[in-house]
C-alpha cells in the first residue's frame, strides 16, 4: 500500500472519519480518495481543525468591540491598544502530548502558541500557562508536574519571552488527562499585521524553518505504519521542541515582515503542511500547487502522506510577492534556517500535490472547506445544585485552623516553585511579577502596560456550567480590574470530555452560554480561542475547564495597584456584598470534604458596577493596594495580601461573622488597603452608588489577628503557603 492506493472505509475509520464523512469525501472528489488525500480529509475534518462539534455554539459568542481589529478565525486575536499598537494573543491546549511526554509536550505547546502570535507580525512579550493536574497523591502527578513545568520553562526561557502568569490546580478528574494550556501575548504596529489569506496567482509558496521529519504523525499512526511497515525508524515519533530554532525563526520572520514582501503567512501547527497550505488557499479562494520534492526533509524516504501530516515543529509557510524570493532567502539564510520554494498559487481552485513527477493528490479547495461537517450534538443540561449557606455546614475546625489548611492547600498555596523556574523578567518590562492578581508587562519604551491573567474555577463549572462559565470570565475581568487595568478582550481554551456524550455536551453548551453572557455584559469580547474535546480516560471526563485568558490596558504605570500590604496603619476596606455562599467552595471541599452545592451566583450588573468603581479608585490614585476576593473568600484574600507584603492585619469583624463570612466565595468583591481618611471618603462614594462596603481591619504588626478567632503569626501563614509545593515536589 502506498500514497496512491485507494482508501477503504476501514482506513477512513482509522483516520477518524465516520462513514458519512467518508461518503461525502468520495462525493466531493467524484472518486475514492487515495491514502494521501484521505489523510488530508481526516485532518481538515478533524475536530481540531473543523470545530465540527463546537462551531454552532462558538458562533454565539460576542467577538466584536470598537477596539477589536481581528476576532476569531485568524491565527490569533488582535485588539487596538492605542498609540499605533495592537495586542495579539491566543491560548491553546497541548493536553494529550503533555500527558504522554510532559517535558516535550508542554514545550511544544509553548512553541506552537508563540508561532500563532508571531505569524501575525507580533513580537511576543508575555507567556502564561493554565495547568490542571491529577490528585497530588496519584502516582503520576509529581512526575507530570515537574516535566510540564520544566518543559514550559525550557522553551520560554530559551526563546527569551517572559512567562509571567497562569494557574495551577489539582483534582482527581485530571488523573488520567492533565490540562496544559499555554497563552502568548504579543505586540505589533497596527499597520504591520499579517494574515493567512493567500492572494495573487503565480505567487510563490515558501517553506521556512526546520526540516520535516516523521514527528507526531498521529490519527493515522497505525495506517501509516502498516502501509510502509519498516523498522522503528519509520514509525511516527513524539515531537521534540527546538526553542533555539524558534528564536531564529521569530527574528527572521520579524525581519522579513519589516519589508513588504509577504502576501500571507501561517505557522505549521497540527498536521502542519496540510492545514497551513489548505487554510491559506481556502481563505483567499485560491488554488495551490505544491511540489513535495522540494520540502526540506530530515529523513530519507518520506512519503507524501507523511510530509503532509507531519507535525514537525518550528516551521512556517509563506506566500511571497512574486520576485521577492531572493530578498527573503537572504534573510532566512542569515538566520541559518531552511528556505525552500515549494509551490505557487493558482486559479484552479484546487490543491494539487506533486511528488516524484506524479500527482499524489488533487482536491477541490472550496468544496472540501465548505462541506466540512458540522454537528448539532445532543446535549443534556447539568442538574441544578442547591445553594449552600454556612448553616448547612457544621464547621469541623475553627477559622484559624481552616485558614492555615486552605492557604497551604494544593490549589491555593503559592506557586513560587513553578514561576521561579520560568524566566519572568527577560525583556526587562515585567512591572508586576507572578504572585499578584494579574501580571503587568510594560509596553516597551512607554509608560503604559498590559495586564494579563488566566482564570477558571472548574468546580463551579461542573456544579453549574452556565454560572461557572460566567464566573470564569468575571474573575478574569476582576483580576485585571484589581490592578487598575481596563479589561480589553479575552481568549479562551475550552477543555471538555467527549462531545459525543450528552452530559458533557450539555456542560459545553452551558459554559459557552455563560461565557458569552458575561463577555457581553462586561464588554469583554472573545477574540481568539481553542476547543479541546475528548479529555477523558476510560469514560471519566475531566471537570469542565473553560480557561479564560484576559488582556487589559494600563494607561499610566504610576497608577496601578498591587496586592501586598506594605505599611502599618492602613484600613482594609471590603468592597462588595457578602452573603457567605459556601456551595462548591474550596472551604467545602478542603475542610468539609464535600464537592456539592451551587456555585456563588454571578450578578454581572453588580460585577461591572463594583469593578468600575474600584478601577476608578486606582486610576485616580486613591488606591494602590487592592486584591480581588476569590477562592477561600475574605480570610484567604487578606492572608494573601499580608504574604505579598510586609505587615500583618488586625481584623475587626461583625459579631455575626461565621465560616460563611470568612470563607464564602460571593462574587464581585475586592479588598483595598488605604489610609483611614480615604477609606471614609470611599465608603461615602460607594454608599451613594449603592455599593456595599465594610471596614474589616487595620494593618500592623507581624500577625494576622482574627478577632474572636485568635491570631496567627505571619510566619505560620507563610510557612503554610510557601511550604506545600516544594515539600510535595521534593518528597
Amino acid at each position: 500500500m502506498n500514497d496512491l492506493s485507494n482508501a477503504t472505509p476501514e482506513l477512513a475509520a482509522e483516520h477518524g472519519l465516520t462513514a458519512e464523512e467518508f461518503a461525502r469525501a468520495v462525493e466531493i472528489l467524484g472518486r475514492t480518495p487515495n491514502l494521501t488525500e484521505l489523510g488530508i480529509f481526516s485532518v481538515m475534518w478533524s475536530e481540531h481543525c473543523s470545530y465540527k462539534s463546537s462551531k454552532k455554539w462558538l458562533r454565539t459568542l460576542p467577538t466584536e468591540a470598537p477596539w477589536v481589529i481581528c476576532g476569531p478565525g485568524e491565527n490569533a486575536g488582535v485588539i487596538d491598544i492605542g498609540e499605533g499598537l495592537a495586542a495579539i494573543f491566543k491560548m491553546e491546549s497541548h493536553n494529550h502530548p503533555s500527558y504522554i511526554e510532559p517535558f516535550q509536550g508542554a514545550a511544544t505547546g509553548v512553541g506552537g502558541i508563540l508561532r500563532d502570535v508571531f505569524t501575525m507580525g507580533a513580537r511576543p512579550v508575555a507567556n502564561l500557562n493554565a495547568l490542571r493536574f491529577g490528585a497530588p497523591d496519584h502516582p503520576k502527578t509529581r512526575h507530570l508536574v515537574s516535566g510540564v513545568v520544566a518543559g514550559i520553562g525550557g522553551y520560554g526561557n530559551c526563546i527569551g519571552v517572559p512567562t509571567v502568569g497562569g494557574e495551577c490546580t489539582f483534582h482527581n478528574s485530571y488523573d488520567g488527562n492533565i490540562l496544559v494550556n499555554a497563552m502568548t501575548v504579543g505586540i505589533a504596529p497596527t499597520d504591520r499585521i499579517f494574515y493567512a489569506e493567500a492572494a495573487g496567482v503565480g505567487n510563490p509558496v515558501i517553506y521556512v524553518g526546520s526540516k520535516t521529519g516523521r514527528d507526531g504523525i498521529h490519527g493515522a499512526t497505525m495506517a501509516s505504519a502498516e502501509f510502509d511497515d519498516q523498522s522503528e525508524e519509520k514509525r511516527p515519533t513524539v515531537q521534540v521542541g527546538d526553542p533555539f530554532t524558534e528564536k531564529l525563526l521569530l527574528e527572521a520572520c520579524l525581519e522579513l515582515m519589516a519589508t513588504d514582501a509577504i502576501v500571507a503567512i501561517q505557522d505549521m501547527g497540527a498536521a502542519g503542511l496540510t492545514s497551513s497550505s489548505f487554510e491559506m488557499a481556502s481563505r483567499g479562494g485560491m488554488g495551490i500547487d505544491l511540489d513535495l520534492d522540494h520540502v526540506p526533509m530530515r529523513e530519507t524516504g518520506m512519503s507524501a502522506y507523511e510530509l503532509m501530516l507531519s507535525e514537525s515543529q518550528e516551521r512556517m509557510l509563506i506566500v511571497l510577492k512574486a520576485g521577492r524570493e531572493d530578498d527573503a532567502r537572504a534573510i532566512f539564510e542569515k538566520w541559518e534556517l531552511d528556505f525552500a520554494v515549494i509551490g505557487r498559487l493558482t486559479e484552479s481552485g484546487r490543491m494539487v500535490l506533486k511528488m516524484g513527477g506524479e500527482t499524489v493528490a488533487d482536491l477541490p479547495v472550496a468544496p472540501l472547506a465548505d462541506s466540512a461537517p458540522e454537528y448539532d450534538r445532543p446535549h443534556r443540561p447539568s442538574p441544578a445544585q442547591p445553594q449552600i449557606a454556612a448553616t448547612d455546614v457544621a464547621p469541623s475546625v475553627g477559622v484559624k485552623e481552616a485558614l492555615v489548611t486552605l492557604i497551604g492547600s494544593p490549589d491555593l498555596c503559592s506557586k513560587r516553585w513553578i514561576w521561579e523556574q520560568y524566566d519572568h523578567m527577560v525583556m526587562a518590562d515585567t512591572v508586576v511579577r507572578p504572585g499578584g492578581d494579574a501580571a503587568i508587562v510594560r509596553i516597551h519604551d512607554s509608560n503604559r502596560a498590559l495586564a494579563v491573567t488566566t482564570d477558571c474555577t472548574p468546580r463551579y463549572v461542573s456544579a453549574d456550567p452556565v454560572e461557572g462559565g460566567k464566573q470564569a470570565v468575571a474573575e478574569c475581568w476582576r483580576n485585571l480590574t484589581a490592578t487598575g487595568a481596563k479589561p480589553k478582550a479575552i481568549t479562551d481554551c475550552l477543555n471538555f470530555g467527549s462531545p459525543e456524550r450528552e452530559d458533557v455536551m450539555g456542560q459545553f453548551v452551558g459554559a459557552v452560554s455563560g461565557i458569552g453572557e458575561a463577555a457581553r455584559a462586561l464588554e469583554f469580547p472573545i477574540v481568539s480561542g481553542n476547543v479541546s474535546f475528548y479529555n477523558e480516560t476510560n469514560g471519566k471526563a475531566v471537570q469542565p475547564t473553560p480557561a479564560i485568558g484576559g488582556v487589559g490596558l494600563i494607561e499610566d504605570l504610576s497608577r496601578l495597584a498591587r496586592i501586598g500590604i506594605d505599611q502599618p496603619g492602613l484600613t482594609l476596606l471590603l468592597i462588595g456584598k457578602t452573603e457567605g455562599q459556601l456551595g462548591a467552595s474550596i472551604y467545602l471541599r478542603e475542610i468539609a470534604g464535600r464537592e456539592d452545592g451551587a456555585p456563588p451566583p454571578v450578578d454581572l450588573a453588580t460585577e461591572r458596577q463594583v469593578g468600575d468603581f474600584v478601577r476608578d479608585l486606582i486610576e485616580t490614585g486613591k488606591v494602590r493596594i487592592c486584591h480581588d476576593v476569590s477562592d477561600g473568600g475574605i480570610a484567604v484574600a487578606v492572608a494573601e495580601m499580608i504574604l505579598a507584603g510586609s505587615v500583618g492585619v488586625t481584623m475587626s469583624v461583625p459579631e455575626t461573622a461565621d465560616h460563611g463570612w470568612w470563607f464564602g466565595e460571593d462574587q464581585a468583591r475586592y479588598i483595598v488597603a488605604v489610609d483611614n481618611k480615604t477609606a471614609m471618603k470611599i465608603e461615602a462614594d460607594a454608599k451613594s452608588g449603592g455599593i456595599a462596603t465594610m471596614q474589616i481591619g487595620v494593618s500592623g504588626d507581624k500577625v494576622l489577628n482574627l478577632g474572636p478567632e485568635g491570631e496567627l503569626p505571619v510566619n505560620t501563614l507563610r510557612d503554610a503557603a510557601e511550604g506545600w509545593l516544594p515539600a510535595y515536589m521534593d518528597a
Binding site: 526561557n157 526587562a428 518590562d429
Partner: protein
C-alpha cells in the same frame, strides 16, 4: 564611553543590556552580530545573556568559538573592558578569558528570582559606584550558574581580590541558604587578573529602573561610565 554589545544567535538579553547601557551612557551602544569579524573601536564590550546557540552541548561553548570572540579576545588583550552577564559569563569562561566553569545548578532547576549580592571588590571599572561590603539586590535567571573552579584557582581568585560579587542574604551573610545555585564559595561574579574583565551570573540590567522594582543594578553601568569615559 563607547560600547558594543555582541549578539549571538540565541542571545535574548541583548536589548535589555542595550537599554540599561544607553540609560547610563546617554548614547546607544553598537550592536555587533556574531558573524562580524571586526569590532568597532570601543571602551567596553558587553556579552549579553540568553541561550547562544541554544546553549546546546555546553552553555556558551559554541558562541565562545565564533569568529567575533577572537576579536573580543584581541581587544581584551589591548585592555578594552569586557563585561559578560549570565550567558555572557559562560561564554567568557568557555573562551578562556575567565577561569573556572558554570555547571548545572545544584538542584538541577532553572532559577529566576532576586538575590542579594555582597560587593567584594568596589575598586574596579565595573563597581566603583558601589562600596566594598555593600549588599545589593539583583535578579538571577539561569540553569547553569553553579560556579566551579579547582582549589588552587579558588585560592588565587580570593587571594587576588578577584571575586567581584558573592551571593548572600539581606544582612550580607554568604551561606548555603543564600546560595541560589550551589556556586563554590557563593561566587556570583569574578574578575580577570587585570580587573578589566568581569563575568557575573546576576542580571544588573534587569534592575536598573525603579519601575521594574529596583535600580541597584544601575550603579554598575554608571561605574563604567565614570571609569571608561
Amino acid at each position: 564611553m563607547k560600547a558594543a554589545v555582541v549578539v549571538f544567535p540565541g542571545s535574548n538579553c541583548d536589548r535589555d543590556l542595550k537599554v540599561a547601557l544607553s540609560q547610563s551612557m546617554g548614547s546607544q551602544p553598537a550592536m555587533v552580530w556574531h558573524r562580524d569579524t571586526a569590532l568597532p573601536n570601543v571602551d567596553l564590550i558587553a556579552v549579553p545573556g540568553g541561550f547562544s546557540y541554544g546553549d546546546y552541548l555546553r552553555s556558551g561553548a559554541m558562541a565562545a568559538h565564533s569568529p567575533i570572540m577572537r576579536e573580543v579576545v584581541r581587544s581584551a588583550e589591548r585592555g578594552v573592558a569586557v563585561l559578560g552577564i549570565c550567558n555572557g559569563f559562560q561564554i567568557l569562561t568557555e573562551a578562556g578569558l575567565l577561569p573556572g566553569v558554570l555547571m548545572r545548578n545544584k538542584n538541577l532547576r532553572f532559577v529566576c528570582r532576586d538575590v542579594f549580592l555582597r560587593v567584594e571588590n568596589a575598586d574596579t571599572v565595573f563597581s566603583n559606584r558601589y562600596s566594598a561590603g555593600q549588599v545589593i539586590r539583583i535578579p538571577v535567571a539561569h540553569h547553569d550558574g553553579n560556579y566551579f573552579i579547582d582549589e588552587e584557582g579558588r585560592a588565587q581568585l580570593e587571594g587576588e581580590g578577584r571575586v567581584a560579587f558573592r551571593y548572600c542574604d539581606a544582612a550580607g551573610a554568604a551561606d548555603d541558604r543564600s546560595n541560589p545555585n550551589g556556586s563554590l564559595s557563593n561566587i556570583a561574579g569574578i574578575l580577570d587578573p587585570t580587573r578589566r574583565i568581569l563575568g557575573m551570573m546576576p542580571h544588573p540590567e534587569r534592575l536598573s529602573d525603579p519601575t521594574l522594582g529596583g535600580d541597584d543594578g544601575r550603579a554598575l553601568f554608571d561605574s563604567m561610565i565614570s571609569a571608561l569615559s
